[in-house]
């Protein structure tokens, strides 16, 4: 099993969720995060003084999937979240050693 961490633009969340649902993925966990990257932050003004806000709002989606559908999942996320403009985000794939469904105490792939 792998943990797929995708950092995406917030307004793409709905599309990513639907893309994942379409390929049969039934679970994911989402966190509000702020991203710093090549996409530069914006300038704000407050009482006459400008300042830059370096961190931009992003959404991190974490999806645990069996090994065999990792690439399909990654593709789905890429497709749904890509705008082609800087700041689209990243996907990272991490190994998972175990997964447990709390409700049933099932373990392994059947837990996700």
């Amino acid at each position: 099993m792998k943990l797929i961490k995708a950092v995406i633009k917030p307004f793409k969340l709905e599309e990513v969720k639907e893309a994942l649902s379409e390929i049969g993925i039934e679970g994911m966990t989402v966190a509000e995060v702020k991203g710093f990257g090549r996409q530069k932050g914006h300038t704000e003004i407050y009482r006459g003084s400008e300042y830059t806000v370096d961190f931009l709002p992003k959404v991190m989606v974490e999806i645990v999937v069996p090994d065999d559908i990792v690439s399909k999942t990654v593709e789905a996320v890429v497709k749904a979240s890509k705008t082609g403009k800087i700041g689209d985000g990243k996907i990272f794939v991490l190994p998972i050693e175990e997964a447990i469904r709390i409700r049933t105490e099932e373990r392994g792939e059947s837990a996700v």
Binding site: P10, F11, L13, V30, E32, H42, E44, I45, E50, P57
Partner: protein
């Protein structure tokens, strides 16, 4: 002895040397100042005499002067209450839109009331009340700034017991309302600059010109049976509501609200308690809006108007709460809030012309009507974040027309003519204005700016920088 009316000195009151010396002398006499007044009266001390002289100066009209003083006081207090309605509108609109646009909404609302008062002084008041000085008789008069001798006593008898300053300040607070109503409907997507221009024209020209047809004693007033609109269900609210409809038609709905396949995705307001504050403040201010429209402190009307206003708002709320609970299975608090406003708009045309029991009925129906109207406009993809078109436009016409059934002195036909004429003209003006703006400097922000939020895009500011935002 008849001293003449000291208040008539309409030039601003300067501090004259002698007066001050007198005053100094007076308050220096500490003991006298603190002596029980009974004594004062008996001994006939100066300061009691001073009032006496001022009032007695009016001779036989001294009674009348005191009534005028009280009435004028009520006028300026009512003006302050109507002023506070603009805070109500601001918080309602902020509450019912998203946090990413809150700075923009606030800016618009500060601008609206400011430009409203500003232009009403420079041109609006004398355009609204041409006092016979028409360019096109009974249709169009354009005036200049309010005069400097506006402190006069007696501006139209019992029916207008206030100085012209009083009349100005009270009416000035109304003037901005039309634009505020539009503001809520076009929120979250209109360009700030374009909205400013739209507002200036609407408030400085369109509103007073159309308003002159009724309150300025133009053609609506001249109908066989005068069009009747006590505090402005039509000439303020209907006008604003249909201007909003026109603007929204050209502007289009907010991105993401109407999905492909005819589905609708509501865009919830980000702060419902703030919207609630707005509605309570509007209700509060409406006591000045309707109560002040008595145009004097005449106690009979005042009591009736306060009572009909409060009862209609209440039954509007109850109507909307229970109707939405039945219709939608859940008591939708935003419907309750709109129900209050519907009750208020609904009674505004006839607050002094119906009994409380009728007001209760008018409000109740307004509460049902507003729920249906909001659902209807959403169905036909007219996106109105705060429900302004329904609350002010639809209910405004309803409130204007319905009173003909309860008061024999009011003509159904005149009411219909008035309501339709004013609303239609407001609609056309808004459509034309928006089309011109669209063709020139652009009416709507870009999709990216809309997505990012107008606060960052147009202002480079965040309303709540310390709070984490949610994007589910």
């Amino acid at each position: 002895m008849l001293l003449g009316f000291v208040l008539a000195s309409a030039v601003p009151h300067a501090v004259s040397g002698e007066e001050e010396e007198e005053a100094a002398a007076m308050s220096a006499s500490t003991e006298a100042a603190l002596a029980p007044a009974a004594l004062a009266v008996e001994e006939g001390i100066d300061y009691a005499d001073e009032y006496y002289e001022m009032v007695a100066a009016h001779g036989d009209h001294a009674f009348a002067f005191n009534f005028f003083v009280t009435s004028m006081l009520w006028t300026v207090i009512a003006a302050a209450l109507v002023f506070l309605m603009h805070l109500g509108f601001a918080t309602l609109e902020i509450g019912l839109t998203r946090q990413k646009n809150a700075v923009n909404v606030l800016t618009k609302n500060v601008f609206i009331i400011s430009i409203g008062i500003f232009t009403y002084f420079l041109i609006g008041f004398n355009t609204h009340y041409p006092l016979g000085d028409w360019i096109i008789p009974n249709v169009l008069g354009i005036g200049g700034p309010l005069g400097e001798d506006a402190a006069t006593f007696g501006n139209g008898g019992v029916g207008l017991a206030m100085s012209e300053y009083g009349d100005f300040i009270f009416q000035a607070m109304f003037a901005a309302t039309a634009a505020t109503i539009v503001s809520g409907a076009v929120a979250e997507r209109i360009k700030l600059g374009s909205f400013f221009i739209f507002t200036i024209i609407l408030v400085a020209l369109a509103y007073p010109i159309v308003g002159s047809w009724h309150w300025g004693e133009g053609w609506l007033y001249q109908l066989d049976t005068s069009f009747y609109d006590f505090a402005g269900s039509t000439v303020v609210h209907g006008f604003g509501g249909f201007a909003a409809l026109g603007a929204v038609l050209i502007l289009g709905p907010r991105a993401g609200k109407y999905l492909s396949g005819g589905k609708l995705r509501p865009i919830p307001g980000h702060n419902l308690p703030l919207a609630g504050i707005g509605v309570f403040l509007l209700w509060f201010g409406w006591f000045g809006f309707n109560g002040g429209s008595v145009l004097s402190a005449e106690p009979a009307d005042l009591g009736l108007v306060f009572s009909t206003t409060a009862v209609s708002a209440s039954s509007g709320a109850l109507g909307a709460i229970f109707f939405s609970w039945i219709l939608l299975k859940k008591p939708d608090v935003t419907m309750a809030l709109n129900g209050v406003l519907a009750g208020l708009v609904g009674i505004t045309a006839g607050a002094d012309a119906v009994s409380i029991m009728v007001a209760l009925f008018i409000g109740l129906v307004a509460g049902l009507l507003v729920v249906l109207s909001i659902l209807f406009f959403d169905k036909i993809k007219i996106d109105d974040p705060v429900g302004a078109i329904s609350v002010h436009g639809v209910v405004g016409i309803y409130g204007t027309v319905v009173i003909a059934f309860f008061n024999p002195d009011i003509s159904f036909v005149s009411q219909l003519i008035g309501a339709v004429a004013v609303c239609a003209v407001a609609f056309v003006i808004a459509v034309v204005l928006c089309l011109i703006l669209k063709a020139t400097i652009g009416l709507r922000v870009t999709p990216e700016e809309e997505e990012e939020g107008l606060d960052l895009a147009e202002h480079g500011q965040e309303a709540y920088p310390d709070f984490a935002k949610s994007s589910g």
